[in-house]
């Protein structure tokens, strides 16, 4: 059943959607852990909005799981306006070179304990640039979900991709193939020539279909989260593992940190935004990570198998 109500403005529907999905996702994840999420509400200075972080740390299954929503607005920093103009040349600033924005979104990163259980990230967001009279000047949606295993399980990757393809197909059969490649390109650790994991979907600056359809698409993708991920965790969370496998997971988490801090646009935008909430932005970091000098897995090993896939992305469905 949809939580969307087309009689309301888009931003209100999106806010209702992310609030509902945050609770639903947390509840779903809690079915696989004995520990519960803790809520933590926060506000941005100067009436700039706020958000709610739900965090589960040191669980039985999940080492660190964060599900965050934010609804923020206010003047956009000048540096951000300049960057944004690269993709939105039509943004009109006022006589002081300023512009006001509204943004809301849900973001989530789950790092399980077991090295055979994959990390999952998702983020669905809606962005508006406003005129001085408060009317919407331009808007777009962004989003995506991706899977980062330390060990490759082909069936897991296929399942994850299949469910995201199914979520997108009703909105255009061209979307999944486009968003799949976008994801491989976006989550690329360029200096390593590796993708972060086995990918998923990613899109940004999206306003090709009407806003109500975009909302429905966001909801459809958000609905894919639990069925695409929970079965993988259920299958992997109690698998036996060795110290060496745990160490490999820690090395892969180091790569996760490298991607987030060096490349991720959302993280970089957040760290540069005055009064942003650092703890919610860096909630995506794993609890622990390792860097070993010059570590290279043995040829033919399970570790090398994963690396191969990150260097040559595969079409899973």
């Amino acid at each position: 059943m949809s939580v969307l109500n087309p009689s309301l403005p888009v931003r209100e529907q999106m806010e209702a959607l992310i609030r509902a999905k945050q609770l639903e996702i947390c509840k779903g994840l809690e079915t696989l852990d004995t520990k519960k999420f803790k809520a933590d509400e926060w506000t941005r200075g100067n009436n700039g909005g706020g958000g709610k972080s739900m965090v589960l740390q040191d669980g039985e299954t999940f080492e660190k799981a964060g599900v965050n929503i934010s609804v923020v607005h206010g003047p956009l920093p000048h540096a951000a306006i300049e960057k944004m103009k690269n993709d939105h040349k039509d943004i009109k600033v006022d006589q002081n070179g300023e512009v006001t924005f509204f943004a809301c979104g849900l973001s989530m990163v789950i790092h399980p304990i077991n090295p055979h259980a994959p990390t999952m990230h998702l983020n669905y967001r809606y962005f508006e640039i406003l005129n001085n009279d408060g009317s919407v000047q331009t808007w777009w949606f962004g989003g995506g979900a991706d899977l980062t295993p330390s060990y490759l399980y082909i069936d897991d990757a296929k399942h994850f991709h299949k469910l995201h393809k199914d979520a997108l197909d009703p909105f255009g059969l061209e979307l999944y193939p486009e968003f799949k490649i976008w994801c491989d390109n976006y989550f690329k650790i360029t200096h390593r020539n590796e993708t972060r994991g086995v990918g998923g979907i990613f899109y940004d600056d999206f306003n090709k279909i009407d806003a109500q359809k975009c909302l429905e698409m966001s909801e459809s993708c958000l609905n894919a989260m639990l069925p695409s991920y929970l079965p993988l965790i259920a299958k992997r969370k109690d698998m036996p593992f060795t110290e060496k496998e745990k160490e490999w997971q820690q090395i892969r988490r180091g790569r996760y940190v490298e991607f987030n801090l060096v490349y991720d646009r959302g993280t970089k935008f957040g760290l540069q935004t005055p009064n942003s909430r650092i703890e919610s932005i860096l909630m995506s970091m794993p609890k622990t990570a390792t860097w070993l000098y010059n570590h290279e897995p043995e040829e033919g090993s399970r570790e090398a198998e994963l690396l191969k896939v990150t260097r040559n992305p595969i079409n899973w469905v």
Copy 2:
């Protein structure tokens, strides 16, 4: 005794200096560990030079210690030229908009195991921009050393700063105060409003005194490394520590990672440079790091004492 020979070109002297100091520093550090450094030579593609990494991992005292020299040259990437022009407006590119560089330097990061023993970083480097005929168009030196404790020991900070002041004073009494503030400003984790540690010295684009004097200054600072650091490690490496103290160290290492990946110019330059050696650039990373959601030390605790100093840098000498 100086290893400099003023009858040789500056670049050859600098190369001889960093080669000699790399060995000396490694030998000095080995006196406090049962494990030895391992050498690892590497070359950059297309005759672009190379380097030698010395790494000690999983020692008794040092968790991860890296001492790296590099001597690299070749065409400068266009993005790097643009950035460099901010500080060196007089750089003349050739008709293709290209320019050749030569750079050599020694960089070092030492992460000890004991949370009471501080991390130390240093980097001394020399940079030349060349004309098409191979003559030097412009040159500068850069360098610095800084101390990153997890627990504040005032005497350690004073000792470290005092020896670096002593190393600089013969070259101008104004240098230490200037480089001390530069260091506090440079090693700043802006999004946390924290410095990385208790600072030290930092300078860049330095050519205010003649090149031979700059070489002597680099040597003098490099000579301060062992006496400024070894006594601190000798004092702290066998101190008893709790699990909580180890965790705090891991959280501080997370901050170290944040600084290196988000702000450090050398790391960013390296990651963007084609054919650069990633493992040598990221040798500076700690072996392990932790991110806990919303961790804030108790008021009045030893942990809070350190944070206070990182938020309000102190004049140690």
